[in-house]
Symmetry: C2
Subunit: 167 residues, 2 copies
Amino acid sequence: MIRTIGIDPGSRFTGYGIVEGDGHNLKYIHHGTIRLPASRSFPERLKMIFEQLGAAISEYKPVSMAVEEVFFAKNVKSALSLGQARGAVLLAGVSAGLTIHEYSALRIKQAVAGYGRASKDQVAGMIQRIFRIDAQIEPNAADALAVALCHLNTHSSNRRWEALNKP
Amino acid sequence: MIRTIGIDPGSRFTGYGIVEGDGHNLKYIHHGTIRLPASRSFPERLKMIFEQLGAAISEYKPVSMAVEEVFFAKNVKSALSLGQARGAVLLAGVSAGLTIHEYSALRIKQAVAGYGRASKDQVAGMIQRIFRIDAQIEPNAADALAVALCHLNTHSSNRRWEALNKP
């Protein structure tokens, strides 16, 4: 079983979700959202992301981190703040010795909903069904669980492929 | 005497410079450039920035960090990478308990060269003269010393103002 933490970075809300699986079984472990008050300075918010993700990593001990690849943003200003939040997220992972994996939005949606044009609500609905979570999941945490699921699928299909191709 | 570390964040080169002053005296302490090999993954580079700045902060013990404010970037892609590097820089400062201060490029150039349209070379030349540094300074480290100087000037003129206005 591989345990992974998926993250949806943001400067107001950073969602995270921890799941494990081996290609046949999928198991939901935990999810949460780090709320970053607008009243705090940007550096303080980065510290909150870094420390709270660090705490979740120490508690749940994932071996890898999965994050959505970003190519677009509304504008340069939002790209800069997203980049800063993302920097704190990646640093929390790499400081704890996790391997870091990035997936495009298209690939994440395909992994979760079967097609790349699924809406945010469809992704969240699928995540609830796949992991049998009854309560509604906060959207950033749902996106974090989606990228974690994408990583488990990719990782276990790579392993199946390697197993099939062993001499 | 206030000791401060100025930083010029970047995903290939991050410059830093440590200076101290009290409004009358300025003293150069140290400068350096963190070179981030393109062969390393982005998360590894963020870790290098965070750890090497952390080491410089422990060694030279500045009480504050000064960083250029950024509003523009060539495009969204470069804003994202700059944002990530900047996130690692701010996190290194706030984790070490430093106060963080941001200054616009205009204000930094005015502080160093007396006018806001000074070229990079003019800023570097002024920095060498002000701090009496003989050897040529790597451009990112020169920019880092410039933002540190801007902070010292602003901080000490604030203090002079407060002193003048004491009842």
